[in-house]
């Protein structure tokens, strides 16, 4: 049987990195999955930008639970997708897990959408949904905490899924 779920690349952070970038992503898959397991020097949300686009071309909806209440956040025309809203990357290493799905990433007809799950048992759980208003194929992905630096040893792995 053909392999349909393949690791593309993985990064284990060192040197107090401020971000991780996956570049030169081939268009040979159908969907992408990113698994993040790590922490940061201070409580931080994880941000995503595609193809180096830092413009206000993103929107996001984040459903959050902090152990006490459930909330929903909607933001449009912002300059990144956010996979959580409660600072899951923090000094409790490696308590944060992010699972990011990017659908139909290489098509050049439609805008790109993401579905993410973020967890930190000390902080909460989020489901995040993002839109990048671009019809370009995604060839690079930048992931960064919105504050501080990534804890050394944080892991970021990019997988490709083939429909056939």
């Amino acid at each position: 049987m053909a392999t349909t779920y393949e690791p593309i690349t993985t990064t284990t952070t060192s040197g107090n990195a401020s971000s991780v970038t996956f570049s030169s992503i081939a268009g040979t898959y159908t969907d992408l999955v990113i698994i993040v397991n790590g922490g940061s020097s201070t409580a931080a949300d994880l941000h995503i930008q595609f193809n180096g686009d830092t413009g206000n071309n993103y929107s996001r909806t984040i459903l959050s639970g902090d152990g006490t209440s459930a909330t929903s956040l909607r933001q449009t025309s912002v300059n990144y997708i956010r996979t959580d809203n409660q600072g899951y990357l923090n000094t409790t290493f490696p308590a944060a897990t992010h699972i990011i799905n990017i659908m139909n990433y290489s098509n050049t007809t439609t805008n790109k959408t993401t579905v993410s799950r973020a967890s930190n048992a000390s902080t909460g759980v989020d489901a995040s949904f993002g839109l990048w208003r671009s019809t370009a194929a995604i060839t690079s992905i930048n992931l960064s905490p919105n504050a501080g630096t990534l804890t050394n040893g944080s892991t970021f792995t990019l997988y490709g899924i083939k429909a056939a």
Partner: protein, 174 residues
């Protein structure tokens, strides 16, 4: 390219006598992440019931921290626990017949020497006003590689019913 998303062992299918637990043991450390996919129903009265999870036989409640985002029918809320080890749901015995809960458990870096951060998505469905859906975060403070995973219905007398299934997958990053 080598296959990197591989089932570990065989799918567990609960037989006609039911099962008090679903356990995967002797999990090799040769993968990067684990993913457990479960379809479950229990004998507990009601529409749904949580399971308690444990790793490597560690049932010390203080070793597990949990938060969850929960939908119950038309309401939403969030809860937390450091004692219950509550994980995915089963459909309960009062739910629509032949209906099972669907759940996924994802464990990154399960063989590392750090604490383990676990992500769980779970849903019960049935043809009633009330159903349950939850996103769950669990941190197990254990620093040993995970070699076994056990799920036990939260109510002591409850058991998994026939045709409940569980499959464990290993995922390699290279």
């Amino acid at each position: 390219m080598a296959n990197t998303y591989i089932q570990i062992g065989s799918t567990v299918t609960v037989g006609s006598g039911g099962a008090a637990d679903i356990t995967f043991s002797s999990i090799p450390a040769t993968f990067t992440d684990l993913k457990l996919v479960i379809s479950s129903r229990s004998t507990q009265a009601g529409l749904g019931e949580a399971n308690r999870i444990s790793f490597n036989g560690d049932t010390t409640s203080g070793n597990y921290t949990q938060k969850r985002l929960l939908g119950v029918g038309s309401g939403a809320g969030s809860s937390q626990s450091q004692t219950l080890r509550e994980s995915l749901f089963n459909v309960g015995s009062n739910a629509t017949a032949s209906t099972f809960a669907n759940s996924e458990i994802y464990i990154p870096n399960y063989a590392s020497a750090n604490a383990k951060s676990v992500s769980i998505d779970t849903v019960t469905e049935n043809n009633a006003t009330e159903a349950y859906a939850a996103l769950i975060a669990i941190l197990w403070s254990g620093t040993a590689a995970i070699t076994s995973i056990a799920l036990v219905p939260e109510t002591g007398s409850s058991t998994f019913v026939q045709y409940s299934t569980a499959a464990l997958y290993g995922i390699k990053k290279s």
